[in-house]
Symmetry: C2
Subunit: 148 residues, 2 copies
DNA sequence: TTTCTTATTGCAAATGGTTTTCATTATCAT
DNA sequence: ATGATAATGAAAACCATTTGCAATAAGAAA
């Protein structure tokens, strides 16, 4: 798949430079289907590019979230976790979180049906509260099979 | 409304003591409709009971979350916020969060489809992933009227 | 290609919410 | 009333994340 990646334009428009660390980080995010933390990304980057510092990871993630390229999640384990908003590896999904062991399951079941409802709800909420809604997240909390 | 409060049994069953700080904290949570942070609760407690320390607030909240009496939320402002899971003041609701100013709006006026989908999805997910689901949270992210 | 402006980076130090340690206090079963 | 021990408060420790600043590099202009 040649040509510039899909996020390229978002950088240009906002006047941000396409630097090596940023490309590497985006590469990692686009190749995983996990919810990586800043440190995990740092370690992954560090294997091939030891010169990149943890600070850059944090600053880049902050930028990516701001540009709407990445979602930031809190699953309750004391650190933020990040996912691309769009990629081959990441279809739109919601989360099932175990309160005991912290396991997170992505599910896409009924996502279409959910999406229809959410579209409708978003439209209603946008009007009622005069809110410009960009995205949503759904978390179900409970106990996984091993922890019951 | 006389008699012991609804959470009393949960304490007893788990062998936890009903102490003054715990009663005060639960009192505050049951009288508010806001999403209070640990520090806000501390300050509120402190006005009438200056002897209660911040540490106790944290430990109590941790216990309450564990007992399922309180929900812990992360709205992205760098601190956790807490709400009773059940009370006169708190009906089940979802959140609308402004990415810019951090304002959080609760909404409870669900449309029928919304309820149906959640009931259905919850049931199916429980079976498919053998998860015992206790609750869910829904966050819509966007820009509020003032921040657009 | 070379130059120049300035956004970006790395390191170290600072921040700040939350947790831990430990001696003291208070709950509640006996 | 008493005793076992859960709970508490104060201070210190933790640790994910942010900030200050001098050095570096992206990308527009020449």
């Amino acid at each position: 798949m040649p040509g510039p990646p899909w996020w390229y334009g978002k950088f240009q428009n906002a006047g941000h430079r396409v630097t090596l660390p940023r490309q590497i980080i985006l590469g990692i995010l686009s190749r995983t289907s996990k919810h990586l933390s800043a440190e995990e990304i740092y370690l992954s980057v560090h294997r091939t590019y030891p010169a990149v510092g943890l600070t850059t990871i944090y600053r880049t993630l902050q930028l990516l979230v701001h540009l709407g390229i990445v979602f930031k999640f809190d699953f309750g384990d004391g650190r933020s976790r990040y996912e691309l908003t769009a990629s081959q590896k990441q279809k739109h999904h919601h989360h099932l979180i175990c309160r005991r062991c912290g396991r997170v399951i992505d599910y896409t079941d009924f996502i279409e049906e959910e999406r229809e409802v959410f579209n409708k709800v978003e439209k209603i909420l946008s009007q009622k509260y005069n809110f410009k809604i960009n995205n949503h997240q759904v978390h179900f909390y409970g106990l996984c099979d091993k922890c019951q």
